[in-house]
Symmetry: C2
Subunit: 254 residues, 2 copies
């Protein structure tokens, strides 16, 4: 088969966080497939380039469509935000391959990495991911809440810095509150919590709070939540938000 | 103070994974500070741009040097590989700020995110980070081996996909073996292990193994190790390495 699929991530926001490798793949594609919100961020391509926009939450169906276009010999780019391998389209494409037409296994399928949201969120706050860390999606569309609780508990017991993706949506506004209620039983009340909204864009907003008194009411799907380890610290500044960072060495301040 | 420091990550290898935001910061700098191996990857800058290369393992000293240059009014870029906030220079810069000249808190300090090695390694293998995951540095230069074991155990109990950074060096070749010995007591023998060397470069190499019979003898500092969750799967292909991915849904194949 001569068709090709490249699954890309645009990065978290502005075009200045999209890698040149992704920009090249987009410019060479005959067909772009993705959630319309992401397709709208892609600059106009060559004449004749087709765009196949879809709604959110139909990832595997979208992946099958992309694979069938590639099987016709098209050069297809599947467009995600952030990094395509982190809670995004790359897994959906491979799930569609495994469960679909065996001929799809002969396609040239590549994944181009990108800047995932937690990296941009952390950069905006300082360097909170400076130690060991983990990333958990709070969405229970695809896994049980029991699994999410098991992972939050393990992350707390391991004293990881925690990045929470998909912390809330209109359909499930209460999960971030349940997650904090659990973490409050496992971590110190002065644990630093960061809410970073629209990371990697000019509209970025940062709120720094403590776990014991955390107010998550402003959290939405554009918010990335970072929860410090026991080592995560702030540096006060005059006239500006403090910097937050996790020392590389556990012996630095102990 | 008029000086400025931007801490950047070049990405894991080729220039096509360096974001335009990082390329702009490099082009505007009067001074570049970093480990020589990373500085060698930076294209020539404007006339008069100074380069301050240093050895590895002197991160806080290097950060202080960068801060003192900025305090003189220079426009300084501190250069890391990958993402600067993930086991790299951003934390060292903030540690130097907190423990250094109080005037440094008035500097304009920014962090520009980049593509960290695990994202490029995962993209090369398929989509193994498709579920919840964690990142652990195996280096015990900066933390105790007991802390590393606590985190490996928590990561296994939480059934996270695990990315291991700094898995081995000439000075400590045995730690990856100790990590696998521990994980073998906690995870199934058929757990998928990926060794990705030189991710994000044309020299990339991938070895896919199983935890029960894993051979880590080829691991070095350029290797990123990925260890699957219980859901991580392979898709066989004729004439090529299998794709490895973690389904987004825990219900997909159970």
């Amino acid at each position: 088969m001569s068709g090709k699929i490249t699954v890309v991530g645009l990065g978290p926001g502005g075009a200045d966080l999209t890698t040149p490798a992704v920009a090249s793949a987009l410019a060479e594609a005959t067909d772009l497939v993705g959630y319309v919100t992401y397709l709208d961020r892609v600059p106009a391509g060559p004449a004749g380039q087709r765009r196949h926009g879809s709604d959110n939450r139909v990832e595997v169906e979208r992946a099958r469509h992309a694979l069938s276009l590639a099987a016709e010999g098209r050069t297809v780019v599947v467009v995600s935000g952030g990094d395509p391998g982190v809670f995004a389209m790359a897994s959906a494409v491979f799930e569609a391959v495994e469960t679909g037409d065996p001929a799809w296994r002969l396609l040239d399928i590549r994944v181009e990495p990108g800047v995932t949201a937690m990296l941009a969120a952390a950069a905006h706050a300082g360097a909170p991911l400076g130690g060991d860390f983990c990333a958990i999606s709070l969405s229970d569309n695809l896994k049980s809440w029991a699994t999410i609780e098991k992972r939050l508990e393990a992350a707390a017991r391991g004293d990881f810095v925690i990045a929470l993706y998909n912390p809330a949506s209109k359909a499930r506004p209460e999960q971030i509150g349940r997650a904090f209620a659990l973490l409050q039983t496992l971590k110190a009340p002065d644990t630093i919590v960061m809410f970073v909204r629209a990371a990697g864009t000019p509209d970025v907003q940062l709120s720094i709070q403590q776990l014991g008194s955390v107010d998550a009411s402003a959290v939405d799907m554009r918010t990335l939540v970072l929860i410090g380890s026991s080592a995560t610290r702030t540096i006060a500044r005059e006239g500006a938000a403090p910097w937050v960072y996790t020392p590389r060495s556990e012996r630095a301040f102990s």
